[in-house]
């Protein structure tokens, strides 16, 4: 039996439930989502798309060797242009090759490295190196991975193995790079410069790589000839956008916006290069800066909806240098430093920390 007051209680409870669950909750939760962007209807003959990618055609009937070559060309395309679609396509193709193939495993580790899945890449390389300790690409990628993870002992071991299988100039380069990373950049710079004056036998790619290491060490010690040291690297490897970005960054730190823009001109619209472009345009007082700024803001917002950690460094830099949000930048720079610990990552973290201190 339900008496009068119990009945009133039940009735008021139901009313309350309706109010709480039927009205309040939907209002508060539906405010989170965004509406879809507007739809346009172009004229019939309007050109709506141009093919600016250079993805190699992927036939369905290719053998294992052809597939690996295709994967290599897609990774190279991704490296040069920053094209993530090429990397995703390479990974799909690689799944068609048996996992027991060591070359395929190394390429898979390179893809994971580029996706910043460093632990997974390192585990794959350990397996390859256990089976074939002198695999050149596995050793080189293992060296790069160890450097980015701040494991200089592992990096040194991979570096020595590269020397023992004939890559003597690369061994010198990575040995001096590690010396610089461990706190002796001046000694490393002087030593590598002496090596380059009388180098062991090498091919031009080894020279380009070593020259880039020397330029990076020069930047680390604030050497006044840093640009002059980057130029031979870029002459030997014009599509080395990493070195181009480092040189542009050096110019920007020394208020030489026009020189930075000249180096960046004609290079792809990757996020790192675009951030440098924007800083340069701002320094130069160019009106083009605003539209690029808006586009980058929109791109970082869109990338943030995905599950990716690969934009952490650039997003932190964007927030620090262009959005004047040091706290948010520091948070991302810390997250980034947990994953990768190269010179640029450490420098960004220190700058973000200083910016937060200055703002308090």
């Amino acid at each position: 039996m339900i008496d009068g007051w119990q009945h009133r209680t039940m009735a008021s409870a139901l009313s309350l439930a309706i109010v709480v669950f039927g009205v309040v909750a939907p209002i508060s939760l539906s405010a989170e989502v965004q509406s879809a962007p507007p739809i346009t209807l172009p004229q019939a003959t309007t050109v709506i798309w141009q093919n600016d990618s250079s993805h190699p055609p992927s036939g369905s009937e290719v053998n294992e060797t052809d597939t690996l070559d295709l994967v290599r060309s897609l990774i190279e395309l991704s490296r040069q242009s920053g094209d993530l679609r090429a990397l995703g396509k390479a990974e799909v193709l690689l799944q068609k090759v048996p996992a027991s193939d060591l070359d395929a495993a190394v390429l898979s580790a390179i893809i994971d490295q580029r996706k910043h899945l460093f632990d997974k890449a390192a585990a794959t390389l350990s397996r390859v190196l256990a089976a074939q300790p002198n695999h050149p690409q596995a050793n080189f990628t293992a060296y790069s991975l160890a450097v980015v993870q701040g494991d200089y002992q592992q990096a040194g071991e991979a570096c020595l193995r590269l020397g023992s299988i004939g890559y003597k100039l690369i061994e010198q380069s990575c040995r001096h790079n590690l010396m610089g990373l461990k706190g002796q950049p001046q000694k490393a710079f002087d030593g590598l410069q002496r090596v380059l004056n009388n180098p062991p036998p090498h091919i031009h790619q080894e020279r380009a790589w070593t020259q880039a290491t020397l330029a990076e060490l020069a930047a680390a010690i604030e050497h006044p000839d840093t640009p002059a040291l980057y130029h031979p690297t870029l002459a030997l490897a014009p599509e080395d956008h990493y070195s181009a970005a480092s040189l542009a960054d050096w110019y920007l730190q020394h208020d030489k916006a026009q020189s930075a823009l000249a180096i960046l001109n004609g290079r792809p619209a990757s996020d790192r290069l675009d951030i440098l472009r924007l800083i340069a345009l701002r320094q130069a007082g160019s009106p083009e800066a605003e539209s690029l700024h808006s586009r980058l803001r929109e791109q970082f917002s869109a990338a943030g909806q995905r599950d990716s950690a690969i934009h952490l460094h650039e997003h932190a830099r964007f927030l620090l240098d262009l959005e004047q949000q040091p706290e948010a930048a520091l948070e991302l720079a810390k997250k980034n430093y947990e994953i990768q610990k190269e010179r640029a990552d450490k420098r960004l973290l220190e700058r973000a920390r200083r910016a937060v201190e200055a703002s308090q």
Binding site: A13, A17, A44, Q50, E76, R85, V147, V148, Q340
Partner: protein, 204 residues
């Protein structure tokens, strides 16, 4: 041989090399007011790289419209809507273009009809598989707009190759059950408060 290897060695260099933001991403919008329709925004680059027999140097609107039926067949074969266990029948139509961060996207309206036997007591789910076999980094961002639906409120979900099917519309029975449970819980709390008050009065 050494030259080949050294060229590849450079892949490992510059881990910090930045990417463009153009990872393949599609956008899906579902609104509870039109529960049998989904808007799919798909980058024209993805359409032309993966859903057409050839990738032309450029494309006009009329050329896209001429291929729309064939592309739509691809779309509906890799998007599965189910009412309970029953697969619904989908069709897609091209409705225009839109933009995300300076990249052009085609806009498709995907409509479906579910078998009669799948009643209102079954949830409607979306199993998105589009482009995952072509690009492992492809993701879909699903915006589910459901004002008034407290059990499964509005939200944004990133769909990946290993994602489970997403629920678009929860079953009515589940809604009702949670509604009754919520009401009973509230009634219970009020009842306890009332009993305690009565006890206090009696003691006084």
């Amino acid at each position: 041989m050494k030259r080949v290897v050294i060229a590849i060695l450079l892949y490992g260099f510059a881990v910090n090399t930045a990417f463009s933001h153009e990872a393949s991403t599609s956008y899906l919008y579902w609104h509870s007011e039109q529960p049998n329709t989904l808007r799919l925004d798909l980058a024209l680059t993805d359409v032309m790289l993966h859903l057409t027999p050839e990738t032309p140097p450029q494309l006009t609107w009329v050329e896209l419209k001429n291929q729309a039926d064939a592309i739509a067949r691809h779309l509906v074969s890799d998007i599965v809507i189910r009412k309970g266990q029953a697969a619904c029948e989908l069709e897609a139509e091209l409705s225009g273009l839109t933009e995300y961060a300076d990249e052009s996207f085609s806009v498709w309206q995907v409509h479906w009809q579910c078998p009669q036997e799948a009643g209102i007591f079954q949830p409607t789910t979306l199993d998105y598989r589009l482009l995952f076999n072509e690009d492992s980094l492809h993701r879909a961002v699903l915006t589910r707009h459901a004002p008034g639906m407290w059990l499964l409120p509005s939200g944004i979900h990133v769909l990946k190759p290993d994602s489970l099917p997403s629920t678009l519309l929860p079953p009515v029975s589940q809604n009702a059950a949670y509604g009754v449970l919520a009401a009973l819980l509230t009634a219970g709390v009020l009842l306890i408060v009332r009993i305690r008050r009565l006890s206090s009065r009696q003691r006084a």
